[in-house]
Amino acid sequence: MRLKYLIMCRSLTYAQRSARALENAGITAVVAKAPQGVTNAGCAYCVKVSEKRLQDAMRVMRASGLEITKVFELNASGEITEVKL
């Protein structure tokens, strides 16, 4: 299963909290450092989820009161595009 969606988080702790909420809901989520090109402010973290579970992940995060600011899609060639929410 390829984890190709990056849900941006304001901090590492926030990413960990988000990943924990997703894992508790049975959604595989991995905390990762966000690609440099997607942030204006420098280092940031994100949670990676699969295409299949993106909608579920966003639903779980919203239900848990976790803010979603931006989501990016990572394609096979490594290009990153912002997903309109």
């Binding site: 304001r10 901090s11 590492l12 702790t13 926030y14 960990q16 909290r17 450092k33 940031a44 973290y45």
Partner: protein
């Protein structure tokens, strides 16, 4: 060796604490500084500890659990966030230098709500009479000198009712008494990791109800392109590399406290102090500072031996392998309130691992010292 100085630092820790420190030393790197395995392991350890602390103290979001070097560091951040030169700060008459010195350094106008030992009603009255003249309120949960448990729920309710921001110093109570951060509604609660939470020295925690003002600036692993500290917690207040090894140990200390239960730990410590008081009552020239009701005192007992210096008593016990502390215990304000500023006290403080036999031995040795002419 009998260790009765847990109010300064708990020496006996669960074995898991030391093992975790050692393991982290060789496997965990720096949290928020990379995405490689050792960095992510460090991040996992730190987050797990935030989560356990958030659970233990009923903090709604682990983000609001900030790691510090110790309780003093945590208090300095809290005070720096709320107090400027000329700010009128109401404190209890039992505060530690970790509160009063930062206030003095910032040029705060300090108002002391003084009330006798072990009289919670008088304490609440004293705060009620003076609170309107204050901008900020700070009070300790438990006096580090006398083990006096202040009525913090009532003091917190008073602060909320009057709309005063407030800070609680939980240096002596974290891991020993229940603390409900959400119910108290404090702006900040500061605590050490190395006392009742049984972690290593060099660990402390600040529970944050408001954003806070950074005491230090530096790397946070987030918003690195900007020169201001990030606006969000915990990064805003955690500049520089965290003490990951210490936090790994603290995590195990907190897990121990959780497993054993705070009520069990408190009952154990109170029972030991009652036993100590009973044993020491046989010696007429040992003056105890004790709560007769037993409801307002934790696992700390201060005594004075008439016509003897408190440091001589501690040295005598130390020579016999019994570790206690003498003097002012970095809390002159508490001694001013209790009338012991000139003499200081001999303080005996217990831990979840102290035994009845150790208490009996210490009481007997102190009795022998008191009988020396």
């Amino acid at each position: 060796m009998i260790y009765l100085d847990s109010a300064a630092t708990s020496l006996q820790k669960p074995l898991s604490v030391g093992k975790a420190v050692h393991r982290a030393m060789y496997t965990a790197a720096s949290t928020g500084r990379g995405a490689h395995k050792p960095a992510m392991l460090a991040s996992e350890i730190v987050y797990n500890c935030r989560e356990e602390l958030a659970w233990l103290f009923n903090v709604s979001e682990p983000d609001n659990v900030v790691f510090t070097m110790n309780a003093t560091h945590a208090l300095n951040i809290a005070i720096n966030s709320l107090v400027n030169s000329g700010t009128r700060v109401l404190i209890s008459g039992y505060e530690h230098n970790s509160v009063t010195r930062p206030l003095y350094a910032r040029g705060a106008q300090v108002i002391v709500a003084r009330a006798p030992l072990f009289e919670p009603e008088a304490m609440v009255d004293s705060f009620r009479k003076t609170i309107d003249s204050a901008d900020v309120v700070i009070f300790t949960h438990v006096s580090n000198v006398f083990g006096y448990i202040l009525p913090i729920e009532r003091l917190a309710a008073l602060c909320r009712e009057r709309g005063k921001p407030f800070i609680i110093d939980a240096a002596q109570s974290a891991g020993v008494l229940p603390i409900d951060f959400a119910a108290l509604g404090a702006d900040f609660i500061a605590m050490p990791g190395h006392k009742g939470l049984l972690g290593p020295q060099g660990t402390g925690v600040l529970l944050c109800g408001s954003e806070g003002k950074p005491l230090m600036q530096g790397g946070s692993g987030s918003n690195s392109a900007l020169q201001e500290m990030p606006p969000f917690l915990p990064d805003r207040l955690e500049a520089g590399t965290l003490n990951v090894c210490g936090i790994a140990g603290l995590l195990e200390g907190v897990r121990y406290v959780k497993r054993r239960g705070i009520s069990d730990i408190f009952a154990h410590e109170v029972a030991l102090i009652r036993r100590l008081r009973h044993k020491l009552a046989a010696y007429q020239n040992i003056l105890q500072f004790a709560d007769e009701t037993g409801d307002n005192q934790s696992g700390v007992l201060s005594v004075i031996i008439r016509d003897k210096d408190s440091s001589d008593a501690a040295a005598y016990l130390g020579d016999r392998g019994i570790c206690v502390r003498s003097g002012l215990h970095c809390a002159p304000e508490a001694h001013r309130t209790a009338g012991t500023l000139n003499s200081g006290t001999v303080r005996l403080s217990v831990s979840p691992f102290t035994t009845q036999r150790e208490i009996d031995t210490a009481a007997q040795a102190l009795g022998k010292f008191a009988a020396i002419h």
